[in-house]
């Protein structure tokens, strides 16, 4: 090989990475990390999509905590750093209204079993309905139930109260609830379920009226829902550590056996080890009027920025990421997120995983015939969405409920904030 050829080859080798990079599309992708979905889960999931589509170079962005994802996005938007793609684990409605999210086309939604999920805005889907989470379930310690003489899972609210009373008499803390500092969303979980089951799931016009200023929080249904949560606290049925626990400590408190019942989303099932020392069961949170209802959330997949320089590529990445069967399987195993992917087959795709029986129970609850599915309060989209800032107020007031504040004061606080924001 002569000298000139050597120079040419060296030059070509030197240029190769630059030429390869020139074809690459760089996307900022915001995810969230929780005890069940740590950095490793996201890195693996991104790597799987990039393996199939090597044209993507993904920069992962993680907000300080899952509860502040929306606020963090606003800060990024204010500083011109809005990501190209983001997991929609926040109240997306205000971002849609502000024109910051791009609608998906029908062709993007073909792979999803339920393409509508949480709902459409002006007939368009803005956040991919990647997973289904059952929000209104109560996990329970079977041994504690047995020892307190509770033979059946509570079916009505009075059954639930009777069970709590028996547990208390047996010197057991009936409910583990809470959420401190940045995890106030966890403190609000039972309230969001109660409102969805007994207010917004019953009265279809409530949220629309609230948004239009025709009604406020001084509503008999709302009062009953807040009272139901407040009563659990006032009767001494909740843990006195409620406001000191962050989300992972809260989860661990129940797993340690410090209380009998734990109202949380189906994702808790992913946190229960297969060899956990005591058996855990699960039942749907009963509605106050006894009607079988279930709070579900089908959404949570990636949303695409309307400001991205690579709209088509960003949408392609979002769809491929959320319908990657291996990612769906890992997500189901780790966080009990039920995939909403037509291509996913439970038996085939979970063959390599040993799933906790709770996950199967959760799927059974989701598929219960005749149960009405209602949207999760504060996460609604479209005409039904709450005004920006009200979700935070619901979170903060849930902590107030756990401090023992009266329902009338809670309603006043919410009404004042509503008036201020309208």
């Amino acid at each position: 090989m002569n000298f000139f050829k050597k120079i040419l080859i060296s030059f070509a080798i030197f240029l190769t990475p630059f030429l390869a990079n020139a074809k690459q599309v760089e996307l900022d992708f915001m995810v969230f990390e929780t005890p069940n979905l740590p950095a490793e889960f996201w890195d693996d999931a991104i790597a799987r999509t990039v393996k199939d589509f090597p044209q993507f170079k993904i920069n992962k962005i993680v907000p300080p905590n899952v509860g502040s994802m929306g606020d963090y996005l606003k800060q990024l938007q204010a500083t011109d750093q809005f990501p190209d793609v983001m997991m929609s684990n926040f109240a997306v409605a205000e971002f849609i209204e502000a024109g910051l999210l791009m609608p998906f086309e029908d062709s993007d939604l073909e792979r999803f079993a339920d393409p509508i999920g949480l709902g459409l805005t002006n007939g368009k889907q803005y956040a991919l309905p990647m997973i289904t989470v059952v929000e209104s379930v109560i996990f329970y310690n079977k041994k504690m139930f047995e020892e307190a003489g509770i033979t059946e899972e509570p079916k009505t609210w009075s059954d639930l109260e009777n069970a709590a009373s028996k547990l208390k008499q047996n010197n057991v803390t009936p409910f583990i609830v809470g959420g401190a500092a940045g995890d106030s969303w966890a403190a609000a979980w039972p309230l969001m379920d109660l409102v969805a089951l007994n207010v917004t799931g019953v009265d279809d016009n409530y949220l629309k009226d609230l948004r239009n200023g025709d009604r406020n929080f001084s509503d008999p249904l709302m009062e009953d829902a807040i009272n139901a949560y407040s009563a659990l606290v006032k009767k001494g049925w909740t843990n006195d550590t409620a406001l000191s626990l962050n989300y992972s400590e809260l989860q661990q408190t129940f797993l340690n056996g410090d209380g009998a019942m734990y109202p949380m989303g189906s994702f808790f099932a992913g946190a229960v080890p297969l060899d956990h020392p005591f058996e855990i069961g699960v039942f749907p949170m009963p509605a106050l009027d006894g009607t079988p209802r279930l709070v579900t959330y089908t959404s949570g997949g990636p949303a695409v920025s309307a400001l991205t320089e690579h709209p088509e590529e960003a949408k392609l990445f979002a769809v491929e990421f959320s319908t990657n069967v291996e990612t769906n399987a890992d997500d189901l195993f780790r966080d009990a997120h039920i995939p909403n992917n037509k291509l996913f087959d439970l038996e085939r795709d979970m063959a390599d995983y040993e799933l906790h029986p709770l996950i199967f129970e959760m799927i059974e609850i989701l598929q219960t015939p005749g149960i009405q599915h209602v949207p999760f309060f504060t996460f609604e989209v479209g005409d039904y969405a709450l005004l920006p800032g009200l979700q935070g107020e619901v979170f903060a007031n849930s902590q107030e409920i756990l401090s023992g504040t009266d329902t009338s004061q809670i309603i006043d606080n919410l009404n004042n904030k509503l008036m201020e924001l309208q």
Partner: protein
């Protein structure tokens, strides 16, 4: 001419943001939509009725008062204790200053590990009495005390160093004269050290006032402003209003009011303590 670069930086980093805040406070703005609607003094008018602002102001004032008294008091004690040229005291001086070089958010997280229900403090208390379990961060009143402990821990370090520097500048002859006059330790402190420490007291008080009024990071890590809104400082309320409720204009009017309140308080403190320096 020589001050031009400094003047440029000062204008860019200090004057411009203040001017922008003044400008924003007359508008209804959302960072999401970037829409600006001129509304005159409406934000300021609304602010006079905003209970949350006055609640946060009360919280900040309580924390400021605690920080001013506790940090100065303990700072003086430490300074007197460590005012010795022995090697051990030099090491102790370095150690006592360490908290001040730590970032406030780091301090917040350090105190979270100490103050949670199963934290170091409760575990220590349980050695003596395992029936006592104080919810340092979950009880609204205790949470405020916990924040003031974390705040003072850092400020004491600063106060100690300033007082130490001031003590070193007190002429040895004055102490010798006091000794000849037969003054005891308390009298020496009362009539010699205390009046001559006036400049350090001024610096410390002003720094504490400024730090406490804009308190944000430690509270964010410790309580996130909760339970409920019971420990939400004005800085936290401003961030929440701007980024959670999308009301940038209204948040700007709060920032301006905070600037006026903290500026006025600092000014009064400077005048009062400055007078004391002159008298002494």
């Amino acid at each position: 001419m020589l001050i031009t670069p400094a003047l440029f930086l000062f204008t860019l980093l200090i004057i411009l943001p203040i001017c922008l805040t003044v400008f924003y406070s007359f508008f209804k703005i959302s960072f999401l939509t970037n829409k600006y609607d001129f509304i005159g003094f409406k934000n300021f008018y609304k602010l006079t009725f905003k209970k949350e602002f006055f609640n946060s102001l009360q919280i900040v004032l309580i924390l400021t008062i605690i920080a001013v008294f506790v940090s100065n008091f303990i700072g003086i004690i430490f300074a007197k204790l460590f005012n010795n040229d022995h090697k051990l005291f030099i090491i102790l001086r370095i150690l006592i200053f360490t908290p001040f070089i730590l970032s406030p958010i780091v301090i917040g997280y350090i105190f979270v590990t100490i103050l949670t229900d199963n934290g170091i403090l409760n575990q220590f208390i349980s050695i003596f009495n395992n029936q006592i379990k104080i919810s340092w961060l979950g009880n609204p009143n205790m949470a405020l005390i916990s924040i003031s402990i974390a705040l003072c821990w850092q400020l004491i370090a600063f106060c100690t160093v300033i007082y130490l520097a001031n003590l070193k500048n007190i002429p040895k002859e004055l102490e010798d004269a006091a000794n000849i006059d037969g003054a005891n330790k308390i009298q020496k402190f009362r009539y010699l050290d205390w009046p001559l420490l006036a400049p350090a007291l001024t610096i410390n008080t002003v720094v504490i006032l400024i730090s406490s009024f804009k308190l944000y990071d430690r509270v964010l890590a410790l309580t996130g402003g909760g339970p409920g809104r019971s420990t939400e400082t004005i800085a936290m309320l401003i961030i929440r209003t701007a980024f959670n409720e999308n009301r940038v204009g209204f948040a700007s009017s709060m920032s301006l009011l905070l600037l006026v309140i903290s500026g006025a308080t600092t000014f009064i403190a400077l005048i009062y303590l400055g007078k004391r320096e002159v008298e002494n």
